[in-house]
Amino acid sequence: METGRGAELVFVQVAKQFGDQQVLRRIDLTVKPGEFIAIIGRSGCGKSTLLRLAAGLETPTSGMIQLDGQLLHGLNTAARVMFQDARLLPWRRVIDNVGLGLKGDWKEQAITVLEQVGLADRAKDWPSVLSGGQRQRVALARALISRPQLLLLDEPLGALDALTRIEMQRLIERLWREQRFTALLVTHDVDEAVMLADRVVLIEDGECALDLPVRLPRPRQRGDAAFADLVDTILRRILSTESDEKVIAASSMSEKRRAL
């Protein structure tokens, strides 16, 4: 697998308003090439909006978004999106869903990515006969076949059962490590954020209220004390009205504790 293809994504004072509703006030966020960022926050805080901005599906009301130093305008062709509902075309077989929009001879490549997500034997099936987890794996294959520099994931595992979700997290991590795309994952599951991300970003009141590096070695273990500490810290931060400083202090505390 080739490496180092991830895009750099920079939000500069991005604000987004829908009518009178100010959803994002001021987002400043730099995502380094190949970095895995998890975005968390209360429901309705604007996580999906942030992702849609990065995909070029929405335009910022003010501020700008840069992709590898270039101002993003219009659809972001370097990006692929995975949605919570897999959004497979029900009238196309699995393999044709994976090859959607591709030109030339893509069949072989489609089989390869289906192998990577463990579904090569389902290539000829209709999406309707797949389970939720399998559908998301097809959606992942479809996202990755064009080798995107940026993968945007909007709660892609939110509707899956716990076991399938853990399997999918491992799969996403593995493929990310192999292919080194930049990843932006929106999730409501703090466990998942800590499991996968290099940095966890909390959105609150339309701003990045917290930007916390996760320095645990991979593959990460849920049972790990440091892991649990970090999850706990973030959860308490989301639920409380504590000031940012205290949280940063708490988080570095937990990191120290892990180091000991």
């Binding site: 990006a79 999106v81 029900p90 929009g101 479809r142």
Partner: protein
């Protein structure tokens, strides 16, 4: 195993035909016994004989092809117009705002009520029949196409855009297949209306076609020909329905609701 398979086959393929056959036999018996005047209802064998006679004289083929031609041309004109309008108004909101209210207003006129006007316009020539069929077919196709397009999953369309589909690819891969089941409902309904319109139009004003055949036979008290004409319409109705079913089965294979039907 083999025995039970045979029993199942009999249940599925033979049993449904039992009642019609019994009725047919009873009908034949009633006419032969003189309980039923052949003026009212000729015996099945007489109907078959009348059909054979028409076939031999070459008349049948002539009337059939005329009726068929009218149906097809009217359907092609009305159907494609309704389809295009439905697509246009479904995909482009401004077009819908401009056209939909007018179309819905015209739709409320029962198209058969226009027969006197249509005769004034076109006489009893081919145009009159084709026009009526076209008008009758247009609206069910239009309404169902529009409904289908409007109900295409917006999430899929958004996904298509993110995955780099161009507008015409969006149309062929998402808009059209997404609307297809609804369009086929419209098609089925339109095929029914097509025959109905043709029956009425040919019966009231025609000098050729199956409807004319029936009306002409009525004047000469040929009840057997009348009954045969009615059966012909029924046959064509069934044929049209089978075509619609076949298309559904073929084009909606992906949809669990249409599998194994």
């Amino acid at each position: 195993m083999k025995e039970s398979k045979k029993v199942k086959w009999i249940h599925e393929k033979v049993v449904p035909w039992g009642l019609p056959i019994v009725l047919l036999v009873a009908w034949q018996g009633a006419v032969e016994a003189g309980w039923l005047s052949s003026r009212v209802l000729p015996a099945p064998t007489d109907v078959v004989a009348a059909a054979w006679d028409l076939l031999e004289k070459g008349e049948l083929w002539q009337h059939l092809s005329i009726s068929f031609g009218r149906a097809l041309i009217g359907f092609a004109i009305g159907g494609s117009l309704g389809f295009v309008l439905g697509l246009l108004n479904g995909v482009f909101r401004p077009a819908e705002r401009l056209l939909d209210t007018s179309i819905q207003m015209i739709r409320n006129i029962p198209h058969l009520a226009m027969i006197p006007l249509v005769i004034l316009w076109f006489g009893i020539g081919e145009e009159a029949k084709v026009f009526l069929v076209a008008i009758g077919v247009l609206f069910p196709i239009y309404v169902n196409t529009l409904h289908g397009i409007r109900n295409v999953d917006a999430g899929l369309l958004e996904m298509g855009r993110v995955y780099g589909l161009r507008p015409w690819q969006l149309f062929w891969r998402i808009w059209l297949p997404g609307a297809l089941s609804s369009i086929l409902v419209g098609l089925r309904y339109a095929l029914g209306i097509m025959w109905l319109t043709l029956i009425v139009a040919e019966t009231i004003a025609a000098d050729r076609g199956i409807g004319y055949l029936a009306m002409n036979a009525r004047e000469f008290m040929q009840t057997d020909v009348v009954v045969f004409s009615i059966l012909l319409y029924a046959l064509f109705g069934k044929l049209a329905d089978s075509i619609a079913r076949f298309l559904e089965k073929r084009w909606l294979r992906w949809n669990v609701n249409y599998q194994n039907r």
